[in-house]
Amino acid sequence: MNPEALSKVKARALAGAELSLAARLGYVGLLLVSAALTTVVVALWFTEPSLPSRTQIAFGAMSVIGVSWMVLAAWALKVRRPLFARDRVIAGGMAVTFSGVFVVGCVAAAIVAGGAAAYGALATSVVMLLAAIGALAGARRRFAELVARRQVLETKA
């Protein structure tokens, strides 16, 4: 096998590893879960009155950890595992579903337990849901544009 052909075989193997859909959606899941958990922790931290200092430190540490996971996931999705148009539609669907469930959970917590923490988390979850709906709409629009252009090109071909 000549050097070019051997190199191509390696490139195809490399692409197989680079294009793992599971890895991409895994980062989407990590982003969503870390965002939700961080929201809950921050809501509790800022709304619970007279927390002991040890608890405040613990909440602070948990918030930093949550934000770090969010940053890691966002960085990976931007640099290491960018989402393609079809992946974005899937990720948008995941985000809407997850945020919807999170909103329902926060509504339940607000009804059952009440309190500022539940309402704070509910407000944040609604913002997350709206952002997810916006992201899904944008992903679908972009996907439709690309599909339309592909059809035009395939027709010409």
Partner: protein, 216 residues
Amino acid sequence: MLAKGTHLTGTSLFLCRREPFSRRHDSLFVSTPILNDDSRADELLAIRCQLGERAAFADLIDRWHEPLWRYLRRLADSNQTADDLVQDTWVRVLRGIAGLRDATRLRPWLFGIARRNAMDRLRAQYTRPTDGDAALENLAAPEVDASLEADLAALESGLETLPARERETLALFYLRELSIDQIATLLEVPPGTIKSRLFRARQLLRDQLATKGAST
């Protein structure tokens, strides 16, 4: 100045753009016409990749791996280095193609990544501060095949003896079918510089071939 499609020497060699996906050796100039279908095929391929069709990436590699490898081989000093560079290039391409705004620019975009990748490697390899063109000069010592028997071999050998900047410009223009403006963007120099490099490259190549012809 030689125009595209004119004879370089009295031989049967032509200096015209080649069909880019020919299976023939990269260094051969083949007088086939430019096909608009290629541009359309490139755009379609880019869009399929942006959509996330996994099969499209295999097609992209099938279509462009060898031209990229050969292009990088001209910038590198060994097959192994070219291999490393092309693998790095593919990683960048796979990670970046979702953000390619204009799918019609797939070809210059690919070669731009390959070139930047090669420049990055060279800067790391040569610790002294240098710009891309100067670094290129240090690469790939000219080799002359003493046993030239065929015109194509003479042409290839002549190409190898060109200075790196002229060789690269000539390869991008004729072998890769990039326009002068595209090459200027890729190499970050004015279009006029590209024209002068092409002019100089053609003259050097012609002189090389004439010298070879006289000596044999």
